[in-house]
Symmetry: C2
Subunit: 446 residues, 2 copies
């Protein structure tokens, strides 16, 4: 049993916790990061192929508007690569496969309908505070409606509605009836617009997002303790004791940089306020499996495809090309989300991979059947996240319990992309939330 | 640190865990019950007034159809008292207060509409398996719909819809948009009919429901360990190790008789299957506060009232007379549920009680303002339940993850009223679930 004393204990070495740590370091505050896993990164996890090509099993994509991510990428000497977009995108709608460049396969009427839906979302999201979206009557009304109801109500053509269903199911990793419209509109408000939210896959980090978190973690050498699951937190107005199986930390403040669904595992004394406890107990992560195939080269490019596939047939809803810029390998990244992820998660690895390959064959032909390597990660199966990309709430939760997502309880402060006000649910949001929590703490410690 | 070995570890000394224990005892199996609280009973909790009158802070009501509860009541030498129904019931709908005996204040058209709604619910519930309500296409359709949508769709008159809103909000302790129709219909199937579900407050245990659980617990002397929060469970095909702060138990099987929202607090090795973990993380308890006023006598009876009030104005939605049969005191029990419970839970005790008293004054006059004693319990504020009466799921959860509510995982079996197939969410369901889990375990140990 080892003990220590510090200004701030940060729980969780995901990007939110690491960002909080960087900020505290900059402000010359002492801190320790306690991480349950043996690695940093949380929902970011990069592994390497034999050829040292980065494979992102978790968070990967960066938008041009992710200024904090871009700053960190530069600071830690990494490179952003634009997602390969030359050539045809494949659209698999209702069993009809279309191959085309540019915009969606929609008629003029359908395109106008989609535009109308987007405008409606943008207008409503602008009426919300991205800091406190639970305020105002409007928020309560929006929180009573599922995203599915919203789309049915505001869309006119089947194709436009199906398009939004596909895109939003991919963003939310959930069936649209599982998520409150307020939750979605908060994400839109935090991204700036629905277009920004739906085109956040413009760049990725060539060395892998996990290389970024690894380098941040390395720069904090000695200030991260791995394999330290926090068991209990005792607190009062003066400070906290944080206990793991074999460490006890005394601190003035604690930043809990873990998603609400994992906060339930910590025993608090005194117990958490009812609102926060109830919020935690309603915060299930959606399901997502990422399955990545590598090939000798990105052969689909030669066939005139950019590797992007949108499908509302499943199980794969989205495929993207993540081949390294030198094209030394071809890398196809596929996403299985929501109900499909649950169903496939119950199968053997082999039958899961076979189902996916069979779907991809319909788009790219026989070559797809013989990958060099296959990597996969079922995030629901990982006890330290239990899903991804981030928590979206069922109806009624944010308007009733939302304030407790960020309100400190005594010396306990909260971080994590779920509560970000800029790019909530993205790496950018994780950084913003971590930096904000750290600055709040620094202010109070003065 | 003390250690032991036994056939079965039961986690939780609520009515489900105690019933499992009774069954194991009857079958001559060795077992131990580990309870986090210093008392048995879980969501059942009886305290006594100075005059030794039982005040039920938690589960209280018994229906004539609760055969298991009635058997236990007889076995442990207790008495069932019929709820006082002589005189006028008070109906406070939309600010209009009506005082009448017998049926609801509805016009013929409205009454027929209510009947139609009830029939629709009964017919649909009969098409569900009460053991496996997640099976069949029908279940998936019903699970996509909130109870609010169902009422709007199937009701015609405002008054009938408002009536169901009031009654079901009281049963579910939630806004109707927070609960899946499948969840409600499962409760109806498990109760036998909507009428049985809505009239389950016919009797109560004069000595208090907690006296029953206390007597069961006493009969298990030495086989319940209190103040033992289970920290972790290691398991494989051969058995389990169950660890608390200061005890280690080796067993062949474990029965987890705690609600799913609390299972998240236990560390499992290997981690739970994804489906069960995700179910736990979506299983928030609704909010309920029970506030009980005692008076020198049940003065409302002299005024011609039976003490029952239904109100859709809130904060109190239902009031019942729980005075002892000898009328040595008057006891008015009030229920504050859902959103109102959350709002009132944030106030001081004093302002909470004042709000309630002011509402009651509108029905019973000035006498209500001077109770002898006031007892209250905010169940959301209790870290070992975090709400009540029981967990109702948002849309999509039961159809996708329902099977994991009861499927054993290795040597881990589940109990608790949430997964009962008879009188789910009632004391009767807790007993049924506990007995079933015990019998499953006994069968496997043969």
């Amino acid at each position: 049993m080892s003990s220590g004393e510090t200004d701030v204990v940060i729980v969780g070495a995901g990007l939110a916790g690491l960002s909080a740590a960087l900020k505290l370091k900059e402000q010359n505050r002492s801190f320790i990061v306690l991480e349950a896993r043996h690695r940093s990164g949380g929902r970011i996890h990069t592994i390497k192929t034999e050829e040292q090509i980065a494979i992102d099993l978790g968070a990967q994509w960066v938008s041009p508007y992710h200024k904090r991510v871009k700053q960190l990428v530069t600071k830690y000497g990494l490179r952003l690569t634009p997602t390969y977009r030359t050539g045809n995108t494949i659209y698999d709608f209702n069993g009809v496969i279309e191959k085309k460049t540019g915009s969606w396969p929609l008629s003029l009427i359908e395109a106008l309908d989609a535009l109308k839906l987007k405008m409606r979302m943008n207008i409503l999201s602008k009426q919300l505070s991205k800091d406190c979206p639970w305020k105002t009557e409007l928020a309560q009304e929006l929180d009573k409606k599922t995203v599915e109801q919203f789309i049915i109500e505001h869309g006119s053509t089947n194709k436009a509605k199906q398009l939004f269903q596909l895109l939003l199911e991919e963003v939310l990793c959930s069936k649209l009836y599982e998520v409150s419209t307020l939750d979605l509109l908060w994400c839109i408000a935090a991204a700036g617009s629905i277009d920004r939210l739906l085109t956040a896959e413009d760049y990725w980090i060539e060395e892998g997002a996990g290389t970024l978190t690894k380098r941040i973690a390395d720069s904090l050498e000695g200030q991260i303790q791995f394999n330290q699951q926090v068991q209990s937190i005792e607190y009062d107005a003066d400070g906290v004791f944080v206990h793991t199986y074999n460490q006890n930390w005394r601190a003035k403040k604690v930043v809990l940089a873990v998603p609400p669904n994992l906060v339930t595992r910590i025993q608090f004394s005194p117990p958490l306020l009812a609102d926060r406890a109830q919020l935690n107990e309603r915060a299930g992560m959606p399901s997502v499996i990422k399955l990545i195939f590598t090939y000798g080269k990105p052969f689909w490019r030669e066939q005139g495809y950019n590797g992007t596939v949108y499908s509302n047939q499943g199980p794969v809803k989205l495929t993207l090309d993540s081949s390294p810029t030198d094209m030394s390998k071809g890398v196809l990244t596929t996403f299985i989300t929501g109900e499909f992820a649950r169903k496939l998660g119950r199968l053997s690895v082999e039958s899961r991979i076979n189902q996916i390959k069979n779907q991809l064959r319909r788009y790219f032909g026989q070559l797809v059947m013989s990958p060099c390597q296959v990597f996969e990660k079922d995030w629901s199966d990982d006890e330290w996240t239990r899903g991804g990309y981030g928590i979206h709430f069922p109806i009624g939760v944010i308007s009733q319990l939302g304030p407790s997502l960020r309100n400190p309880i005594g010396p306990i402060h909260w971080a994590g992309t779920e509560l970000a006000s800029e790019w909530r649910m993205y790496m950018e949001g994780a950084i913003q939330s971590g930096e904000r929590a750290a600055m709040d703490v620094v202010e109070l410690l003065k």
